[in-house]
């Protein structure tokens, strides 16, 4: 049988893949994709806990699923704004590489 811990480990590994992508990759679009992976990993562990905590009527705890709904909504808004910034930046500098964008570097 599948245990709760299996879902949590899979979710942790997915989060780590996303985290490594944000740290290592230098293309802003790939960094945004890795951010999506991290948000999805959080959603997976929330849904696993929702299924684990069965309430008195025998239904899963729907509060976590409402929270996942909010996460998906905010992620959609975040990607839209992030990609608009990338397009504006590309129009100005013709690059999506973070190492070419060091104007604010101290």
């Amino acid at each position: 049988m599948v245990r709760l811990g299996d879902y949590l480990i899979v979710s942790g590994i997915l989060f780590t893949i996303g985290f490594a992508g944000v740290m290592v990759r230098r293309n802003i679009i790939i960094v945004l994709m890795a951010l999506e992976l991290m948000l999805n990993a959080a959603s997976l562990s929330l849904v696993a806990f929702s299924r684990f905590h069965v309430d008195l009527t025998g239904a899963p705890n729907y509060n976590a699923q409402v929270f996942v709904f909010f996460i998906i909504t905010v992620a959609a808004a975040e990607v839209a704004v992030g990609l608009a910034i990338v397009v504006a930046l590309f129009r100005l500098r013709q690059t999506t590489h973070v190492e070419d964008l060091t104007t604010l570097k101290f």
């Binding site: 245990r3 490594a20 679009i29 890795a34 992976l37 069965v54 509060n63 910034i85």
Partner: protein, 167 residues
């Protein structure tokens, strides 16, 4: 949910998630991300969260991925040339990620409930759209309205950002 199906979807999700950050071609990364999201949707459905699984497919694999592919093709990004990689920064990033995964394993290993299997459900969850909608309009009414404002602000912000300067 059989263990075989769970491990198949989990492996598919992790392999294609790793492919997202390994591929040099952005289009290949975006398509790997679609497969990863679809496998994640099957995991949601395996947890009896049908509504979340469906909006995962619709919003992520549908809307967000089309947006990513549209931007990649609009900007005409080719596969990156092999730059001289900043080895110290990459090694630091991978070391932090490894430390993080070790912590995850340690915490989940000590968690007593992690070894328990999922308790059976007393009733069907095919009405979960009804249940989630009920919660959204009662307990979570204010956050729901705030989310609406967030989306409105994002829409206006995107239009402002992508407008050409007309000065």
């Amino acid at each position: 949910m059989s263990a075989f199906l769970f491990w198949t979807s989990a492996l598919l999700m992790l392999v294609f998630g790793a492919a997202v950050i390994i591929n040099r071609n952005p289009v290949a990364s975006a398509l790997s991300l679609v497969v990863s999201f679809l496998a994640l949707a099957t995991l949601f459905i395996s947890l009896n969260a049908y509504f979340i699984g469906i909006i995962q497919v619709l919003v992520y694999a549908g809307a967000i991925m089309v947006l990513f592919l549209f931007i990649i093709m609009l900007l005409d990004l080719r596969a990156e040339k092999l730059r001289n990689i900043n080895w110290i920064a990459s090694a630091g990033g991978i070391a932090v990620a490894l430390a993080f995964i070790i912590q995850i394993f340690a915490v989940v290993g000590r968690l007593s409930i992690a070894n328990q299997t999922f308790p059976p459900l007393a009733r069907s969850t095919s009405d979960d759209v009804h249940q989630i909608g009920l919660l959204l309009f009662t307990n979570y009414n204010l956050p729901f309205q705030i989310i609406g404002i967030v989306i409105l602000v994002a829409t206006v912000g995107v239009i402002m950002l992508s407008r050409r300067e007309s000065r």
